[in-house]
């Protein structure tokens, strides 16, 4: 074991602990009320996690919340970025979830076709 080997182990596993920091750059909140789950929020949530993992994003966390009341637009997803307005998306399917990661999270351009609300 050398100091570099130690750093390698750390870098490989550090992301496993990222959730416990509670302090990520971006939080993706998936509405997981009854109607959200019925509309496929679980699959959406997993799509987010998969995509984040695939891209190795360490400063993004996915969490969940209850219903927002926008049943007809479920699954509803809110993206909270530090010092920026919160963006609420509607009808986020697995494909849209991947698109949000690629365009909004990585490149900073919200997926305007699915934006429901912008909260200052």
């Amino acid at each position: 074991m050398k100091l570099e080997d130690l750093k390698k182990i750390r870098e490989k596993h550090q992301k496993d602990l990222i959730l416990r920091e509670g302090d990520a750059r971006i939080r993706i909140i998936v509405g997981m009320g009854t109607s959200g789950i019925a509309a496929g929020a679980r699959e959406t949530l997993n799509a987010f996690l998969e995509e984040i993992d695939k891209r190795g994003l360490v400063d993004v966390i996915v969490t969940q919340a209850g219903e927002r009341g926008l049943s007809s637009h479920e699954p509803v997803v809110t993206v909270c970025e530090k010092n920026k307005p919160k963006i609420v998306y509607g009808k986020v399917t697995m494909e849209i979830a991947k698109k949000i990661i690629a365009e909004h999270i990585v490149n900073g351009n919200p997926v305007s076709s699915h934006v429901l609300e912008i909260n200052q």
């Binding site: 750093k7 182990i9 416990r20 509670g22 009320g33 919340a65 209850g66």
Partner: protein, 596 residues
């Protein structure tokens, strides 16, 4: 794939005692049943601190803090929170005064005023998984010290930080290492003193259980600094979980090459052996501890020579406390200046206290030195139980003293506590309310220390027993005023003439209560009365003839049939038979039973 939730279940001894293991396995079952196993990570951690509220659980990323979780709550918790994202309100932390729901762990005053350095990993990582420790920069300090610092530089860094021994002595850790390094001898040793003996203290246990690798790393750095290739951890056999996790951690550290030969390819060899103590209080004294490791009877020897020059098997030995070792890696990584940025000038850094007694939030707290006792008791501790008044704070266990309520604004540091006739000690802090009898408290500690005296020197063996006898005399109403002078005289002799720290400090609880609460001793002696109604021999129960309606409840409840009287007639207590259990006092609905 990355998980979406980290569920941290407290695996500290207190939470395990209230079934956190059963909760954990139920969680795993329930999550499996709902097909969430791939999304949720269940981690068993070390002590999170608020033991009073256990079993406790934290759910990240939101840091939602659940208290008093029971196995039967789990299905609902998994469905509501983990599946539907609605935290279970009835299990969230509530502050006692406001009963206000605080969802975010960071908002809770118990955590707010704390500064976690030594305990930063406790309750956050899995203590049985070295990878989690490495992810938190574990063993980086050891690697840095071995590859980028000379032993002298490592020592200088610790001296510069001002770190003082957390076991109670408060001696400069760096200086101790320096003396050990300079002492002549081929073979040198490092000892970790984990013989935590103060009643009510469990700081060291929590660190060993919650983050054993940090102690191992601290010991290895110490070994490098003083030139020792061998370390011993002397831990009480009564700490089976600490022993188990430490054994596992040592094994993992060996497998990863952090212990053993040629660590970090630097040519430095170091390994650690565990030694279990049978629980004698005196074995926390360093020379007695060394004797015990050597297989001899655990009895202290006179100092000098100090262990730093002639310790284990006659070789130079640096013996430091668990919490001291827990600080080392942080100082090496962040530098001495960082360490000095908390605490006071003469007592830098943080200190872990085991908060117990008559306080709302009991448990383990880590605070910057210099925080006032009032902040610890009122803010972190949430104030005294049942809205009663605080009378004093006892610090330093059987070697310490009582600090009365009027000095609550004193900062917690080595010097300021000593100035008040108490000591920092290893970090036990017992909150006493207005119902605590100070004479009885002093008697409790003297009973403990006179039992634990090893018996080799007369002042401690005979003197403490005699002091204890005088306290029994006073609390049973047979005391004389001259007894107080005798107590003081004997206390001074024992302090001056005892060989080791046990005897030298054992009279402190008596001296400090005599100093601050002398009138309570005098009331016991002159009026034969215990103002707090704690000393059984001085309490009398009587039935008020005007209030008694003859309902017979008291007579029915008396376990020794000391109460006589027919229905609708005034009852009478026979004080000859009465054992003063107080049952009649509790069951009388008419306030007719009087206690004074």
């Amino acid at each position: 794939m990355r998980k979406r939730l980290d569920v941290l279940v407290c695996g500290g001894a207190a939470c395990i005692a209230s079934h956190s293991h059963e909760i954990k396995s139920r969680l795993i079952d329930e999550i499996e049943k709902r097909g969430l196993s791939d999304e949720i990570n269940i981690v068993e951690t070390g002590c999170m601190g608020p033991c009073e509220l256990g079993p406790v659980m934290v759910v990240y990323p939101d840091g939602i803090f659940y208290i008093r979780v029971s196995e039967s709550d789990i299905p609902e918790l998994v469905e509501e929170h983990f599946l539907k994202g609605r935290p279970l309100k009835r299990l969230l932390w509530e502050t006692p005064e406001a009963r206000k729901i605080v969802e975010d762990k960071k908002l809770v005053p118990f955590f707010e005023k704390q500064k976690k350095v030594v305990l930063s990993n406790c309750g956050r990582i899995d203590p049985e998984n070295i990878i989690e420790y490495i992810s938190e920069r574990g063993y980086e300090a050891l690697g840095t010290a071995l590859t980028a610092m000379s032993p002298d530089e490592a020592i200088e860094s610790i001296i510069e930080s001002g770190l003082r021994g957390r076991g109670g002595g408060g001696f400069s850790t760096g200086l101790k290492w320096k003396i050990t390094r300079k002492s002549p001898g081929e073979q040198k040793y490092i000892i970790c003193n984990a013989d935590e003996g103060d009643p009510g203290a469990f700081m060291d246990r929590a660190l060993l259980e919650g983050d054993p690798h940090s102690v191992i790393e601290g010991m290895a750095i110490a070994g490098y600094a003083v030139g020792a290739d061998r370390g011993y951890t002397y831990v009480r056999a009564e700490y089976p979980l600490a022993v188990k996790r430490l054994e596992k951690a040592i094994q993992q550290a060996r497998e990863h090459g952090f212990l053993g030969r040629n660590i970090f390819e630097s040519g430095f060899d170091f390994d650690i052996e565990l030694r279990m103590g049978a629980g004698a209080f005196v074995c926390g004294e360093e020379t007695a501890l060394i004797a015990s490791i050597e297989g001899k009877r655990g009895m202290p020897t006179s100092k000098p020579p100090y262990p730093a020059s002639k310790g284990l098997y006659g070789c130079p030995t640096s013996i430091n406390n668990v919490e001291t070792f827990g600080n080392i890696r942080h100082i090496i990584i962040n530098g001495p200046e960082w360490f000095k940025s908390f605490g006071t000038e003469k007592s830098p850094g943080t200190k872990v206290f085991a908060l117990s007694g008559k306080v709302n939030n009991t448990g383990l707290v880590e605070v910057p030195m210099g925080i006032t006792l009032r902040e610890i008791v009122e803010d972190i501790g949430g104030g005294v139980l049942d809205g009663k008044k605080i009378k004093a704070v006892q610090t330093g266990g059987p070697s310490g003293g009582c600090i009365p309520a009027e000095y609550l604004d004193t900062p917690a540091s080595f010097e300021s506590l000593q100035k008040l006739g108490s000591i920092m000690g290893s970090g036990g802090m017992i909150v006493l309310d207005e119902d605590t009898c100070m004479v009885n408290l002093a008697k409790f500690f003297l009973e403990y220390t006179s039992e634990e005296s090893c018996g080799q020197c007369a002042p401690c063996r005979i003197g403490l027993r005699q002091m204890y006898n005088i306290l029994i005399k006073i609390t049973s109403g047979k005391g004389e005023l001259s007894d107080l002078d005798k107590l003081e005289e004997m206390a001074k002799t024992i302090q001056g003439a005892s060989l080791c720290g046990l005897g030298q400090t054992a009279p402190n609880p008596v001296l400090s209560t005599l100093h601050y609460f002398r009138e309570e001793y005098i009331t016991h002696i002159e009026e034969k009365r215990c103002p707090t109604l704690s000393c059984l021999d001085l309490i009398t129960y009587q039935i008020d003839a005007d209030k008694c309606i003859g309902c017979t409840t008291c007579a029915k409840n008396c376990p020794v049939n000391a109460i006589t009287g027919a229905v609708k007639q005034v009852h009478i207590i026979d004080m000859e038979k009465c054992i003063k259990c107080g049952k009649c006092f509790m069951v009388c609905k008419f306030g007719a039973v009087q206690r004074y």
